[in-house]
Symmetry: C2
Subunit: 253 residues, 2 copies
Amino acid sequence: MQDSRATEITQRTIEETIVSGILSARIRPGTRLSENQLATLFGVSRTRVREAMMRLETRGIVHVSPRRGWFVVEPSAEDAMAVYEARRIIEAGLLRSMRSLTDAGRKALEAHLHEEKHALASGDRQRLTYLMGDFHIRIAELSGNGILVDILRDLTARTILISMLYQSDFHAAQSHDGHCRIFEAMQSGDFTRAAELSVEHLDEVEMGLDLTTRPDPLSELRNSLSLPPKTASSVSPQPDPKKRNFKGAINTC
Amino acid sequence: MQDSRATEITQRTIEETIVSGILSARIRPGTRLSENQLATLFGVSRTRVREAMMRLETRGIVHVSPRRGWFVVEPSAEDAMAVYEARRIIEAGLLRSMRSLTDAGRKALEAHLHEEKHALASGDRQRLTYLMGDFHIRIAELSGNGILVDILRDLTARTILISMLYQSDFHAAQSHDGHCRIFEAMQSGDFTRAAELSVEHLDEVEMGLDLTTRPDPLSELRNSLSLPPKTASSVSPQPDPKKRNFKGAINTC
DNA sequence: CGCGGCTATCTTGCATACAAGATAGAAAAG
DNA sequence: CTTTTCTATCTTGTATGCAAGATAGCCGCG
């Protein structure tokens, strides 16, 4: 972060840092985000941190418990279903409205799927999680509609939080296959089929969740434990085995 | 909302006041929103106003020009097309995913359409504008998906801003008919047809816009005129004839 | 040993002070 | 009369200070 003209870097850096931390599953649901810690971490005052938190709150990424603190959201089972339903509606509608796949688009998706394959083979879990979610954002980008891209990015972030809470086991390979099938349908120009496959894919992933088990009955208590005062970084994951009642860390989106 | 303990009222009141002002077309695109004026208007400090502005900015409702001020967004023609495209995708997808219309839902829509008809007959333009947009939010509410409701509410707000900039003439009756047709298809259980009608309806409204004419080439200049220092309220409309290069004030959504 | 209450210390909520950029209007020069 | 320049004033950007609620740990009491 050391720059000659230091400012300008942290205009919306805080916001994006947290979101990208979630998109790559480095930040868990329920993580405490202390204004003070983030402020010292970014070398700014609490004011800017608060503004970033406000923005993230409207995006459904964090929430505030009055006078207690900011936390990364822990979507309930109902929230989870709503997120997947919203994604099915938007992503299927998006694919259904497509008329053609540009050459640049085809190449972008091919490159992406290649990356997925590579991450799958090399076992790079964090990168795989990121890529699995990013696929859907890439598709939104093909539409050229920035509004939908923003919406789907935030929904993807929430999806990843959901899978960290509820995903009992991950079928990354199966999910990758789903992505490939969607791409093939798109390539053949059958966007109706691509939309159907997209819905099936999301259904599949949602079915892989265990939405019956309450994710973390001691959530409130864990919140107060999740950031021991001596820990400096509130953004990095804590590999404390006591908190390992979290489910798998790989998201199949 | 009237509470004996006066506070608590202004937690997110500022945000909602501005949004509802837009939804009923009382606030024009490009309106300056001075932090100081809003602060004194609501009897709070600038801090809270700023937080509300930050939230509204992420919702795509206002934007800030550095060191110059906050303004209600003036969507460009490209923005306008993106908004309508997003709405087509989401609303059609939403209808297509519906399986049944509950009795409560049917009654709610019937009541709404009755209100539209009444406002149309009585010539209550402001109320009509509000209702025309609210119809689509009501449909989203039927899905029970709060995420989609929030998204569509913000898109509707932007739609109303767009129509204030680009709508050359309004066909409120035609638009009301479109709503009725969508409702009829829903009532008959043909949600695929309802989705198609929804797309047609949005196309129709978009076609009614004049997206070729630059909405307001003197936008920057007008911004500086839009709030003469002597005017106390920055939220109420200014019926200054000089700024009447705005198009029609009724939105057909 | 168990339990209740107190206090020290954390957290956010909110207002305020000051800095810096942008603007408009007056004043001055052509 | 026009143009330019300067200054007074307005705007947001940011940090800081203080208040109030929530929490945890200690201490004392039963």
